[in-house]
Symmetry: C2
Subunit: 134 residues, 2 copies
């Protein structure tokens, strides 16, 4: 399989600092967190503003890449399910996808609401949420 290199463009500062502390999905109630960006990407950030809804693409650094099926929500009562039908952090390319709203912008630091990512999680990309939630 062909491979490519992705680079961390920043990281998450969050009160969530245990693997098991992360809620499985953002809407169950996740804390505010700061996205802290590398100076090198400051020009890419320059139009992000308070109130914007964004997608945060993260690197789920604790994900197990050789796991292809899981019991959703780590609940053994749920049948073993192919990871492409789940949001498990265990998957061949452990990229996280989080929809959040910007609460504050302070230079290279951006506050977002309801982010279900652990403290220290690397950030790969930020995209605007388009109409229709895309």
């Amino acid at each position: 399989m062909t491979s490519f290199e992705v680079r961390s463009i920043g990281h998450v500062e969050s009160p969530l600092n245990e693997r098991d502390a992360a809620p499985k999905q953002g809407f169950e109630g996740a804390p505010d967190a700061w996205l802290v960006f590398a100076t090198e990407v400051s020009a890419a950030l320059s139009d992000l503003a308070v109130g914007d809804e964004i997608w945060v693409l993260s690197w789920l650094h604790r994900g197990q890449r050789d796991v292809l099926a899981v019991h959703p929500r780590d609940d053994l009562r749920n049948p073993l399910t192919g990871v492409f039908s789940t949001r498990s952090q265990d998957r061949p390319n452990p990229i996280g996808l989080h929809r959040v709203r910007i609460g504050a912008v302070e230079g290279l630091r951006i506050l977002v609401h309801d982010l279900e990512a652990l403290h220290g999680t690397p950030i790969l990309d930020i995209k605007p949420v388009l109409r229709g939630g895309r």
Copy 2:
């Protein structure tokens, strides 16, 4: 900046085969396309079904990674905008995010509707769309 390796888990088969043929956003009307997966990830696919809405994460292999601001939609009348506020393929980590619905499943080949990705685009991940479009 820390880097990580992502691997292509498959590729797109699409009638879109020119850089400029790709519409800028899926909802403007994109064609049906096939997602063709590597045998190695077949267990991860096993619960995807016709009618499912999924996120396709792709590798935008023609993206320029050193471009941090663009004129949206390649229209010079649009002001230069930081790429994290756009869906430009030009960005530090050129990962594409596409929301599509599954039209057919044939083993390692999955037909999806309205995919704005060029023929040959590598696929990195598939995730279910959660309620609320997340």
